[in-house]
Symmetry: C2
Subunit: 443 residues, 2 copies
């Protein structure tokens, strides 16, 4: 008779933990509690579903509860965990029932940041599949006005989705450029793209109030730059780790507000408790400090580690370097490592070079521009970070640069690496090589 492993949260991290725990030790009883009705769904796919690129909400579910059950995992959907008692090794469920556990994985994810402005409660953050389906039904007719607040990648993806539905969209961002994860000079390329598909962009503009109509539905926003009336208001002002339950149980959070874990995904100061995904801190390999990043790929990897280790294994998560990628307003956008601003703030003696070239051979159909900004350390030439904005196929090159950042390669080595060339996919020198060459010259 084996132990019982309970998992709180049935999305990427939780179900990856469940699957890997069961795979390592089939004698372990694995039970996962999910308050919603779906497991393993792609929140990242929601904007594409709202915009209509993805037809059916079920398409976003990578693995249904039934399939998990068929794989030997006891999944309890519609079952909210409301309390964790680490001493009694018990979960309290909504409705009053209790469930025992020997080992525990916490994968409670993240929740939308609710801005402290009047009327915010009248909006619906569309983070769940149910909410996404509601929003899609509301906007399917097109023609109306929408305001999206927050020009991070979710805000930009949602704004594009609504444009695809035929809405007129205003995008409000309090920073002085859209997509503030990039340096502003690269963000300006994303703004061009947003404006190019008809989005009305308001930067350096803060939300002050969501205006609410008589029936309780939003009718626009009041901002530091005036009122923007709109039938639909989408707040995309970031997410925060959902640690309420874990913190109430006495588990430690770190400086980012997310759960503090070691590289085995063990919760600090608690035996037999692991955590993974959007709710935990990860070590940033360049900054050498904890960060909280919400991304499916980390959730998947950390969930695997948490589950594997909870079942007696010993895998370690080597940290993150901030790689992210998106397709925004028909342009591809990616970053890895540190931006120029981050590098300076972190005390690196860094310099940056930006090049413009083409994503495919100049004559090849579908070719378009690509900008690569490289951030390198003065003296050593070590690649500290990179940003890419460009036409289709441009962005996945960020992985090559992520490898350079990960391994600490210098630009004068990078410029000669044997990367692939063929007219449909690159110029004779890949944009990565062109950027490295320019950065190496300056060295």
């Amino acid at each position: 008779m084996g132990d019982r492993l309970a998992i709180v949260g049935g999305d990427a991290a939780g179900m990856s933990a469940a699957t890997n725990a069961h795979r390592r030790d089939a004698g372990l009883e694995v039970v996962a509690f999910e308050r919603g009705e779906f497991t393993s769904y792609s929140a990242c796919g929601i904007p594409y579903y709202v915009g209509g690129l993805v037809g059916d909400v079920d398409d976003l579910v990578a693995r249904s509860p039934e399939r998990h059950r068929a794989n030997g995992i006891d999944v309890r959907t519609g079952t909210a965990v409301v309390g964790i008692d680490l001493d009694r090794r018990e979960l309290a469920l909504a409705g009053g029932r209790a469930e025992p556990f020997d080992r525990l994985v916490i994968a409670t994810g993240a929740c939308a940041v609710a801005p402290p402005v009047p009327g915010a409660e009248a909006t619906d953050p569309a983070r769940t599949l149910d909410a996404a389906a509601r929003l899609r039904r509301q906007v399917e007719g097109g023609g109306e006005d929408a305001v999206v607040v927050g020009a991070g990648y979710i805000g930009l993806e949602m704004a594009e989705a609504l444009v695809m539905r035929g809405l007129h969209v205003a995008l409000v961002e309090r920073a002085d450029e859209v997509f503030p994860a990039l340096d502003a000079d690269m963000g300006a390329r994303v703004r061009e793209a947003a404006e190019g598909i008809g989005i009305e962009v308001h930067t350096s503009t803060s939300l002050e109030e969501v205006l609410v109509g008589d029936a309780g539905q939003p009718r626009g926003v009041r901002t530091t730059a005036g009122e923007l009336p709109a039938r639909h208001v989408i707040l995309a002002m970031g997410v925060q780790p959902d640690v309420e339950l874990a913190a109430a149980a006495g588990l430690r959070t770190g400086p980012t507000g997310a759960l503090a874990v070691d590289d085995r995904q063990r919760c600090a100061g608690a035996d037999g408790v692991w955590a993974a995904g959007d709710c935990v801190e990860s070590r940033h390999r360049l900054l050498d400090r904890p960060v909280n990043v919400q991304l499916g790929t980390h959730a998947n990897k950390q969930g695997r580690i948490a589950g594997h280790n909870a079942a007696g294994g010993d895998l370690a998560f080597p940290g993150v370097i901030g790689t992210a990628i998106s397709r925004l307003c028909r342009r591809e956008v990616a970053l890895t490592g540190l931006t120029e601003a981050q590098a300076a703030e972190a005390g690196f003696d860094a310099y940056a070079e930006t090049i413009e070239t083409s994503a495919r051979a100049g004559y090849f159909p579908g070719n378009g521009p690509v900008w690569v900004k490289l951030v390198a350390e003065r003296g050593s030439g070590r690649v500290l970070g990179a940003q890419i904005v460009g036409a289709e196929t441009a962005a996945k090159r960020i992985d090559t640069l992520a490898m350079a950042v990960w391994t600490g390669m210098a630009v004068d080595e990078l410029q000669w690496v044997d990367l692939g060339y063929a007219p449909p996919v690159s110029g004779v020198l890949d944009p990565v090589l062109v950027a490295a060459r320019v950065a190496a010259k300056r060295l």
Copy 2:
């Protein structure tokens, strides 16, 4: 009054050498001799021009002689060099004139391998823009039969181009699978793609004769598997370094038959002579022996080094790892490092794992399958090579794997690297990570 640098060959390597020599030392007189009428053209683009994806032959010219001249380089097109006298420092030109030089860069490229079979001389290898334009005019009408001999990347690209023109195409390859640069199990995925667009594939079949009609034009081929009548016969049986001129001048060739150069692109045993591009040997970093690779990206880099060094600089070429990429029959194909067969032959204790996953998120429009084969060293887990076949966007990931091969990264590290994820460009775990994970498990 500066020295005179002569360059033999006005394509990628030669003009890259000219440009970089002039850039480094504007006092150096740089004169480039090109026997054809074009400079800096993309031979790699020829199949796309024949197939009609590229509209105009001039589109394939990256930089015209006029533009080179405007940049301070004396380009002599239509000027064939027929002899090099290293002692007298003189080039002999067709027609009897001589041209002096102080320093010399040889960039004579490659020429098609003419198979030793009767009738071969009746075919036209379509390596030059003029020949490509002739071929395009001949096939524009569609409807006829064509035979392409050789299923390397040029043969496959040409076969696809002819299918796009509405021809019925038979493809003949003497190896037992198409695209023999790949292991046969991965080549089989390319064959599927070729057959999927209607190409009639004959493997393990050798050319014995090009059948020639009364008017001297080809009328098909005779092979070890019988006759294949066809209005058009394209021989794409590989290219060989064009070293006739250099060898006659006493310059040394290496074991591959290409010119022996050191990592500064200096010709072995000759002072003030550099060589670059398809006509030279490059050091393979894994095999640690010279190889001869014809690829625009190497030509560009080596040309830069040769020109820079000929103008007094000191750049070094760090070698190649065999990265190549192509789009073949609507499937993308790429490789880097060693295949399983090459690794075994080179004496590595290697193993291989192949995974199948999807190029984008499973639900994303345009998604399709991708296969990644990873070759790793037993024990250390070091990535020795990789092969990718798959749907659009699949292949450029080879660069990530090239970085792993280049840096000697092991699969158990690679599986955790922070690579980009977003539904339009990858599943939650990039195919590279999935492959590394599977290979690490086996370790």
